[in-house]
């Protein structure tokens, strides 16, 4: 089977992102970039499916030349080849991302597209669903393993493929939903789907020689008009500094008499 996975370049998910003093955008000074954690889960699940069913994994992303770093990491994790479509984050919205990936789907004809559920920069959580609708495909969003990544060693996998269908566990409000989708299908991966592997040194070396195709939006015939534009940034409301309490009695006293919450 052929699987297409996303491999977006994002700011370090553990970095506390701040705005520039003129609020024109984020202060990227000293901020590192990484492969989107949710995309790592998507890639890991694709690798597990390939180990069982054979086939090919194509990593896709939209970004500038610097995004080849994260693309190479996806290849080092084990993806067979990559496609990087040229595009800057501030010239994208989720809709344009979805339409671009839909074009790549038409070009590659995979059985499955696995997206990271959301990118940790824009946090929109839309691209997989939009893409599924553009392509008229079924979707299994927020795929996860019901026992969490700690329990991944045995038992049922979060995603399973059989008889032209993909079965996914979905984390939804109030419990876990098991959904079956006819392939080709769109899946989005949640963090608890699996524990992504670290690339080994030999695989990092091998990844340098794996094919990485570079395309433009024009090559794909994608209309680059945006439906959603971010027109301004601001800082979230700051919480005023709190106080330290010495013990439980002082805490209770404050909650009853000062905060008046009890």
């Amino acid at each position: 089977m052929k699987i297409m996975v996303t491999a977006k370049r994002v700011t370090d998910p553990d970095a506390r992102i701040r705005l520039k003093s003129d609020l024109s955008g984020i202060d990227s000074e000293g901020v590192e970039y990484k492969l989107n954690p949710f995309c790592e889960n998507a890639i890991e699940e694709a690798l597990r499916l390939k180990a069982k069913h054979d086939g090919e994994i194509v990593a896709v992303s939209i970004g500038g030349a610097e995004a080849t770093t994260e693309m190479r990491r996806a290849l080092a994790m084990g993806c067979d080849r990559g496609i990087l479509v040229d595009g800057a984050d501030d010239a994208l919205d989720a809709d344009l991302v979805a339409r671009t990936i839909a074009k790549l789907y038409e070009k590659e004809q995979p059985d499955l597209i696995i997206f990271g559920k959301q990118a940790v920069d824009g946090d929109s959580n839309q691209a997989a669903q939009l893409c599924a609708e553009y392509l008229g495909l079924g979707q299994a969003t927020f795929a996860a393993h019901p026992n969490g990544s700690a329990g991944m060693t045995g038992g049922e996998p979060g995603l399973a493929v059989a008889d032209g269908k993909v079965t996914a566990m979905r984390e939804v409000d109030g419990g876990v939903e098991v959904v079956e989708v006819a392939m080709p299908a769109v899946v989005s991966a949640d963090l608890r789907l699996n524990e992504p592997r670290l690339p080994t040194l030999p695989n990092i070396m091998k990844a340098k020689r794996k094919p990485l195709e570079q395309l433009s939006m024009a090559d794909l015939g994608v209309d680059v008009a945006l439906k959603v534009k971010t027109i301004a940034f601001s800082n979230p409301p700051e919480r005023k500094a709190g106080v330290r309490v010495a013990d439980v009695d002082e805490l209770l006293n404050k909650l009853v008499n000062e905060a008046k919450v009890l």
């Binding site: 984020i26 409000d173 939903e177 098991v178 079956e180 971010t230 106080v243 330290r244 009890l262």
Partner: protein, 325 residues
């Protein structure tokens, strides 16, 4: 016909509380647009839910029922919602940032040729209708403009008030959907509910949360006991969920539940940015951690540097006494 269409959510014939927060958003947006709002209820017992939902000032409540909507699937529900939106002439379609809203509403946006904003926390102050939404795990607020005639939104319920019934009853209109069930490429095989007698985490006034510092599933009973003494919901960090101290449904954070209770008490929680993104809108934050450098203290109103294994039982006992007075 109103400019705004609110997607109502329901379970077992009852309107979900989250929808009441979306109605608060809709009233604010309607005030800016100078119109009203309608509701759409899709799924089993839609008529019964419409009767409950009709007391909140909607111009109209649309219902869609039928075999294709007995069980929720994104393609079927998106089809029905988009049909009702077109029928109602809605310019803004808004639902909660729930798992249903996040799963389904992007497909509605594609059907309507609309741009979509996720996790809306407020309305921009300018003349046009723009939306404020958190980015980078809530460390940045972006103001977004949707350039299409129709806007689709998910609304972060914790950032809007719940509304009281305003009396009266909105007229109900049943809409026959053209959705062809034969085109559906997916089905729900099974649902495994999380069973809890405690208040719903998303709606609770009090929340007691545990993190990695709780150390084991057995020890999590200390968190549960404290929650019960307080009448609180239980929550957890991703680290605690990953370590299987508790199910994922209790996860608070960037990828879990976003909460804003009157009182949040976090024990053994360091305060990773992903967790803070989910709870820093709480009205009063209490943090108990033996590491005085833990980042959670930077957002806490009351910080107690102490061992949770001593604090939790003592606090539980003293709260029980306080409550029995």
């Amino acid at each position: 016909m109103s400019d705004i269409l609110v997607v109502a959510e329901h379970a077992a014939g009852s309107l979900k509380k989250g929808t009441l927060h979306v109605i608060d958003f809709a009233r604010q947006a309607a005030a800016k647009l100078g119109g009203g709002f309608d509701l759409v209820v899709v799924g089993p017992q839609a008529a019964a839910v419409a009767a409950q939902a009709g007391g909140y000032g909607a111009g109209k409540v649309y219902t869609v029922e039928g075999p294709a909507f007995e069980q929720y699937t994104a393609p079927a529900y998106a089809h029905a919602i988009a049909e009702v939106a077109a029928h109602a002439g809605a310019k803004v379609i808004a639902g909660a940032s729930s798992s249903l809203g996040k799963d389904c509403l992007p497909r509605v946006a594609v059907k309507l040729g609309a741009g979509m904003a996720s996790d809306v926390v407020g309305i921009g102050s300018g003349n046009g209708l723009t939306y404020l939404r958190p980015m980078w795990a809530g460390n940045v607020v972006g103001e977004v403009e949707i350039t299409t005639a129709i806007h689709v939104l998910t609304v972060r319920t914790a950032e809007f008030d719940t509304v009281e019934a305003s009396g009266g009853a909105s007229p109900v209109e049943a809409v026959a959907s053209t959705f062809d069930q034969a085109t559906l490429k997916q089905r729900v095989v099974e649902f495994r509910p999380t069973v809890s007698a405690r208040p719903d985490l998303s709606e609770a006034a009090f929340v007691v949360a545990g993190g990695r510092g709780v150390k084991s599933k057995e020890n999590f009973s200390l968190i549960n006991d404290l929650a019960d003494a307080l009448g609180a919901a239980v929550g957890a960090t991703r680290a605690a969920v990953d370590a299987e101290f508790i199910e994922n449904d209790y996860q608070i954070g960037q990828t879990g539940k976003i909460i804003a209770p009157d009182l949040y008490i976090g024990l053994g929680i360091s305060g990773a940015i992903q967790h803070l993104a989910g709870m820093k809108a709480s009205k009063v934050i209490v943090a108990v951690n033996k590491d005085e450098e833990a980042p959670i203290f930077t957002v806490a109103d009351y910080g107690l540097v102490a061992d949770l294994f001593k604090v939790a039982p003592e606090l539980t006992e003293k709260l029980r006494k306080l409550k029995s007075q």
